[in-house]
Symmetry: C2
Subunit: 248 residues, 2 copies
């Protein structure tokens, strides 16, 4: 399979902002315009639920702007986030009728949606859509596995540092440039959401953030605005042995 680095899945979604501008040289024009006809947008406010696990889901979608979360909940209320969806990320599984996870807007959110049935038909006639989707799914699987290491083996402090590093990297839209030095960004998650992502309690999240602040690894302005004076020092705290998934 060829690398399609310059063609984001969202390329199919011609008019969307952000990463949706790339043009796929390979796809036939009429297919592209069919996709263009199929798409529609939905907006959600911060905190709103996009879909509940188990609900019928007759669309697939791509995040245009904002941050959404995927989470699972046990009967007794214990919750675990299993995905953080940032612009250009894909939601929904072709071939599945109902949602497997709760999808929630962490910030104000815009998604570009496609009805599932015609999208699935199009996947058959236009193979490179499926190829791109496979690549994105493999990337997500790698992220999930990196997250398994975090959940199973990292300390609370390492977990927080790792999450900050991930958000910093993606929020800053740094692309393939390896970040270093001073980085500034906003947290799109509350302490509780961070806790649900990291397998911690919100109190522990708060304490560890305070500890990182006290140690000069980060500084905070308000609750959400974070400055990292030395990104490599943060990575050190995260216990990552590699660059954390910048390479493919």
């Amino acid at each position: 399979m060829p690398m399609l680095d310059t063609v984001s899945f969202a390329a199919e979604c011609g008019a969307c902002p952000i990463r949706h501008r790339a043009v796929c040289a390979r796809c036939e024009e009429d297919e592209l315009s069919r996709l263009e006809d199929m798409k529609y947008y939905r907006s959600y406010q911060a905190g709103q639920t996009v879909i509940w696990s188990g609900d019928r889901m007759d669309f697939v979608a791509s995040v245009v702007s904002g941050v959404a979360t995927l989470s699972q909940t046990m009967e007794d209320g214990r919750r675990q986030m299993v995905g953080l969806l940032l612009p250009s990320d894909f939601v929904g599984r072709p071939g599945r009728a109902s949602a497997a996870y709760d999808v929630t807007a962490a910030t104000d959110l815009v998604m570009c949606c496609f009805r599932k049935k015609p999208f699935e038909e199009m996947m058959i006639t236009t193979p490179h859509i499926g190829q791109r989707l496979l690549e994105m799914t493999l990337d997500e699987l790698d992220s999930a596995r990196e997250w398994m290491l975090l959940l199973g083996r990292k300390t609370a402090r390492e977990k927080i540092a790792s999450l900050l590093a991930i958000i910093a990297r993606r929020d800053a839209s740094l692309g393939l440039t390896r970040p270093s030095g001073r980085i500034v960004f906003d947290l799109p998650l509350t302490r509780e959401e961070m806790a649900d992502y990291l397998g911690l309690t919100l109190e522990t999240v708060s304490r560890q953030i305070s500890a990182l602040r006290k140690d000069g690894i980060i500084s905070l302005e308000g609750k959400r605005h974070v400055t990292v004076p030395d990104f490599d020092a943060l990575l050190e705290e995260a216990g990552d042995d590699s660059d954390g998934g910048m390479l493919s």
Copy 2:
């Protein structure tokens, strides 16, 4: 995308045993025989390393028999398994030059391999291979996310019960029949490997297995042979709210 339920990926691998016997009605004969020419087998003994993370990996493969594990290790030695590969599971990522994880044979293992280059070329000319691979990858992503819930939020006892349930289901080759009542199987993992999978220490694994035995949820013959008198009772201990991924 159509459901290809009856066509396992390994269908492309005509002569392999076990689940490799299914025939894909859709693929052109000549493509199938090209795949047949490409394939070769490799065997490993229990405990042998198939490939180290970072090593050059010029093949993709499918497990024919036995159990393999995928794991990640931090510099200080903390290890986390991120995948359990059972017969028909796929290893390797098209488009990636080096292995991202350590792959180890947990039991004696046979894999059916394809050189990556021709395999990737074939993926382009024979789209349904890619479609099948996408479906398998999405299944793995779901398993990984279920595992994230386990690692982040379950207690040690629930973790053990969940792992036993997963092994029981797959080891017993129960297909889509929902198991219940008495189930007997062998553990393919040592206590330490179980610990690395569950984000626990081997001592905790041992203690919790003893506790489940004392409570009559399981009984053991030797260290490896497990009897579950009531599978539903085991699921109860696992804290699963659903059937744990039997549905698609």
